[in-house]
Symmetry: C2
Subunit: 293 residues, 2 copies
Amino acid sequence: MQYEQIQRDYLARINTKLQSYLDAVQEKSIVSEAMAYSLMNAGKRVRPVLALAFCEMLGGDVQAVLPFACAVEMIHTYSLIHDDLPCMDDDDLRRGKPSCHKKFGEAYALLAGDALLNLAFETAFGRFDTVESDTALTCGRILSCSAGIDGMIGGQTIDLMSENTAISIEKLKKLHALKTGALISAPCQIGVAAAHGSEEDMARAKAFAAAIGLQFQIVDDILDITGSAAQLGKPIGSDSENHKSTYVSLLGLEQARQDADALRKTALDVLEVYGEKAAFLKEMTVALTNRDH
Amino acid sequence: MQYEQIQRDYLARINTKLQSYLDAVQEKSIVSEAMAYSLMNAGKRVRPVLALAFCEMLGGDVQAVLPFACAVEMIHTYSLIHDDLPCMDDDDLRRGKPSCHKKFGEAYALLAGDALLNLAFETAFGRFDTVESDTALTCGRILSCSAGIDGMIGGQTIDLMSENTAISIEKLKKLHALKTGALISAPCQIGVAAAHGSEEDMARAKAFAAAIGLQFQIVDDILDITGSAAQLGKPIGSDSENHKSTYVSLLGLEQARQDADALRKTALDVLEVYGEKAAFLKEMTVALTNRDH
């Protein structure tokens, strides 16, 4: 009950703040429309919620972390827009609606993605009453390092280069740690930084994020074989059709399930030290990782 | 003579620093190769040189402004890569060599552009011995505001929306002030900020940049009619072929020439107050604006 209340409160704050950044854009055009179309498309806001939850668990001010949490969501959204483009995954649908380039055309979708990436950094370089300059720089550094060539873009690159190629389990883990893991780790770290957490807190945030990021990906791979399209949120069987190496193809179904369960336990164990204060994050972890596999 | 020495020194510092950022990338791949291909493609480095020159004119430390100057060049390069893509201008050549997507393919060029935009902000969010946190935040704010939807991307958007459409002279000025002007103004402002210049210095930097940015564009439009491809650095006559409104089509050749000369004088006049310290910037202004029109 309380979990759902907090979740609703976080979502409301995040969506209001995201909308305020869009409202502040001066140059209204088809590109600002495309930015809003993709950014306000009813995502679950997992990443910014993680930032708020880590910050609050450590006694920090949600107002302080909110801009950086929104910046993470902008970067996530830009990456989806560019990933959907014809030269990348060529996806016509995103969350049940036409993808950005299907709706607005390729050129405007490209610019909308560029503009959202840029807006994330405009946001992180904002004038803050709630955050000291050094903390803002730390959060911006976490953000930019996670999103770039040694983070998410590095993972997208490995993914592209691995198409129709068998890869090792180590390479697959690295691919996912960068492609999706980096932008799950970033908000957890930003939450710690905004709350002035310790180095131990930062290490725990990274360990937690690494565990849930990988767990989520393994369950995705399992559901691609065993699940329904409704469970997976996208057509099943696409990985083997695309000759992609997956945890299941590399380790087998049984080992994949055991690994997923172990990772989920790891994530929950990391939070133990925070006792009752971790109640929301624990429930969130269970909700995120509790897909039937 | 001294001008050319300083110019060479600035270029060497900029190119060495840019190379060091590329060298620091951990994830070497076709994308990091594409980033280097476009970033180290012997550009004139007009933008970062402006940052260094403004900083030094005001008694600032070139080492302090160098990272932000490099960040401007990374943003400029990313914008060229994305502008050349088939869904945008579809250009096969850039500075006499195959454009990034012609050389590496569309998907990798898209990611290389994204990665350079991100690297610009990683650079601006760096750990600096030479710059205080507040100055770094100010430089980052100038950078991100100039590059985004209310800056360069806003201009790219107006440009796309104006294709095959007659637009007013006011709209044309706005298009260029955003599309190219913003990223000429940014390094001038960053130079002032890094040198802890006054508000008056900042206002002069903006006035100077607005004048040379527009002058440069008007001369481009004139040469598209009267010049040779060698003078213009690209095929002539392309604007009227594309039914683009230009200064010449809207104001006529004579008025365009008068405006260009007046703007050049404005830029030089703005620098008068700095006396001898402005010697390099004045010579640079003459060199930049002195194309035969």
